[in-house]
């Protein structure tokens, strides 16, 4: 019974399950590096960015310098990191703010990945190195005012004109839209859904910001209008064909969200735990009340389970055995639980929970967007439902 008699160390209050030990030294170094960057470059100012509704452009270059943009792609000046390493970076960025993580997700997993997976060699050489450095910013235009969960019905249309294409349509809720140098635009055509890498200085392309957002405020969200935008055939992503094109990109970004959501959750839990130990009511720390302890314990359970789930799915992705419905499983569970953790944390902070002096309500509000974008929680529920019953229930 040598194993049973070994003395078990008391667990850490945040990494209760000792998940750290499941990471390699290299993965831990990536985590510490991104965490350090977030502590020094994001946390001091993020409440202000959130309040004022922007994200400094400079941050893109800094993320590029660290190698976090398109980090899981290889070649074209991208580092070729593992899926787990990418997930860890998403978690640490979102522990700062989901807006910062969204910037990296859209740049790396949506815009860069679209070019990487579906683009021509010339497109890859033209865009990927500059985007990896954060010098060129990309956005990803799929959603339209009338077509969100059902993108197949999109109205944006690409018409052939000799060897050129003429694009017309409107894209809505596009992250990084107005700061982008290149927009990946998905459009219907006589040959079905096609994708384009549109330089945003092309005549007829315009982007305006969506204001009065109360969630993901440290992130730019725009409406794109394409009015007789004329593009050469060389702007089309030659390998994309049908809805599978954009969906493959979304699958990449969703994977990062499975991790990112646990970053938001961790910050909320840590904040609530710390607060509960120092806030005194009825002459004792509120962390001493059974009701508070139940909240904290429940938060810790879901944080631990969700982080393990993220790591498990990450290892599967690196192994090449991750199915897209398992990504739905992860996104549905982890965003839902992160939101529950954020709301619970908010109650522990009392009135302080509703101010930007503490990170909790910022994360809580952010998570409402995360619940909706990259496939709503309902859509992911239906993906899982269709997978286990064999009966799609979308329509």
């Amino acid at each position: 019974m040598t194993i049973a008699t070994r003395r078990a160390a008391p667990p850490d209050a945040v990494d209760f399950l000792g998940i750290d030990a499941l990471l390699s030294d290299e993965e831990r170094l990536i985590r510490d590096t991104v965490r350090g960057f977030v502590r020094e470059r994001v946390l001091p100012d993020v409440a202000t960015w959130f309040e004022e509704g922007y994200l400094p452009r400079e941050l893109g270059r800094e993320l590029g310098k660290l190698g976090l943009l398109g980090m899981h792609l290889s070649g074209y000046d991208c580092p070729g990191a593992s899926a787990v390493a990418y997930g860890i970076a998403c978690l640490e960025l979102e522990a700062g703010d989901a807006g910062v993580r969204s910037f990296a997700s859209v740049q790396g997993s949506l815009a860069m990945y679209a070019i990487y997976r579906w683009g021509s060699e010339e497109q890859k050489r033209e865009y990927l190195p500059r985007m990896a450095r954060g010098e060129a910013i990309g956005c990803f235009g799929l959603t339209e005012p009338d077509f969100g969960s059902n993108p197949a019905g999109m109205r944006t249309f690409a018409r052939r004109d000799g060897s050129d294409w003429i694009l017309n349509g409107t894209k809505m809720w596009i992250t990084n839209g107005s700061i982008a140098d290149v927009a990946i635009v998905w459009a219907n055509s006589d040959d079905g859904i096609v994708g384009f890498a549109v330089p945003t200085n092309t005549k007829g392309f315009s982007a305006s910001n969506i204001h009065r957002k109360i969630s993901l405020r440290a992130s730019i969200t725009s409406e794109l209008v394409l009015q007789d935008v004329r593009l050469p055939e060389s702007a089309r992503l030659p390998l994309a064909n049908g809805l599978g094109g954009p969906l493959a990109c979304l699958n990449e970004a969703r994977f990062g969200i499975i991790w990112g959501a646990m970053g938001s959750a961790r910050t909320c839990y840590e904040t609530a735990l710390e607060y509960s130990k120092t806030r005194v009511q009825f002459d004792r720390p509120i962390g001493g009340f059974q009701l508070t302890q139940e909240k904290l314990a429940n938060m810790l359970l879901e944080l631990g389970k969700g982080t393990l789930l993220a790591l498990h799915l990450g290892r599967k992705k690196d192994e090449g055995t991750l199915h897209s419905s398992q990504v739905s499983f992860g996104k549905l569970n982890n965003v839902r639980e992160a939101l529950a953790i954020a709301r619970e944390a908010r109650t522990i902070l009392g009135a302080n929970g509703v101010t930007l002096e503490y990170p909790v309500i910022r994360h809580m509000n952010n998570l409402e967007s995360v619940l909706t974008y990259e496939g709503t929680s309902e859509v992911h529920t239906l993906v899982i439902g269709a997978q286990i019953t064999g009966i799609p229930a979308f329509t």
């Binding site: 170094l29 990536i30 960057f37 190698g67 580092p79 970076a89």
Partner: protein, 262 residues
């Protein structure tokens, strides 16, 4: 130019430090070990010099630490150092500055260098005596608190940060310097750096490799640490009741002025 940077591996300064009362040494288990903060600045200086000099300039990091802390050195390699040397031996345990710098100097001679960059102060022992002792054992000049360095042929032009400004100093190679924090903020390791670091070597050295002619470790040390105590708990502080903001502000101002802080 061959640059060697000494890097001490210390318990995370952000963690609560604990001292084992029986051994008088820092408890290292359960606390993460990091690169000594001053040494990150020293490494940043080395990397900047390498970038400026280009050519065949190399940066080697050197640490004397238990073998179990080897992976901590990987961060220095991820930041951009070319390789590392780790001197570990149970015989070194409990060395004071006298013994530490003696052992280190022999290792550094073996490694060889044109420029030795040493951090100004460790976060744990904090004697600040190692740089001077190393220069003595190595018989090299030592320029402290350097904020800027330029290699000019076989010598260095250095700027030393002082309280009143800065001095410009020339020194021949080989030479030892300590860096001021104004040299430049240590860079973040990039993802490519991190991924490349696992292919770089951390060469091991033991006391047997050094050909020492005197003892190291506890028996080779002259000083003994008898106790390491936490600072006395802070007093209650002074509470001033003020009738209004202006009186309050004046009370604070007077308090600061009395202590010559304004």
């Amino acid at each position: 130019m061959k640059i060697v940077v000494t890097v001490k591996l210390v318990p995370d300064p952000n963690a609560e430090k604990r001292i084992d009362t029986s051994t008088k040494r820092l408890v290292r288990t359960g606390v993460e070990t990091v690169l000594n903060p001053y040494d990150e600045y020293a490494l940043e200086a080395a990397l900047q010099l390498k970038e400026k000099a280009g050519g065949d300039t190399t940066v080697t990091v050197f640490a004397m630490a238990p073998e179990s802390l080897k992976e901590t050195l990987r961060k220095a390699l991820a930041m951009g150092a070319d390789d590392a040397v780790l001197l570990s031996d149970p015989a070194l345990e409990g060395s004071d500055v006298w013994a530490t710098s003696y052992a280190m100097s022999h290792a550094l001679k073996k490694i060889g260098f044109d420029l030795l960059i040493v951090g100004g102060l460790s976060d744990d022992g904090s004697t600040g005596a190692t740089p001077g002792a190393l220069a003595e054992y190595l018989q090299t000049p030592l320029v402290t608190n350097v904020r800027k360095a330029d290699a000019e042929g076989n010598s260095l032009k250095l700027e030393r940060e002082t309280d009143t400004g800065y001095q410009t100093v020339a020194a021949p190679l080989p030479c030892a310097i300590t860096t001021a924090l104004t040299f430049g903020e240590p860079r973040y390791a990039s993802l490519k750096g991190i991924m490349g670091a696992k292919k770089k070597t951390i060469a091991p050295l033991t006391v047997g490799d050094l050909g020492l002619d005197r003892e190291v470790g506890v028996s080779g040390s002259k000083t003994a640490l008898l106790a390491a105590n936490p600072p006395a708990a802070r007093g209650k502080g002074q509470v001033v009741e003020a009738a209004d903001g202006a009186t309050g502000a004046k009370a604070i101002f007077d308090f600061l002025k009395e202590r010559k802080l304004v």
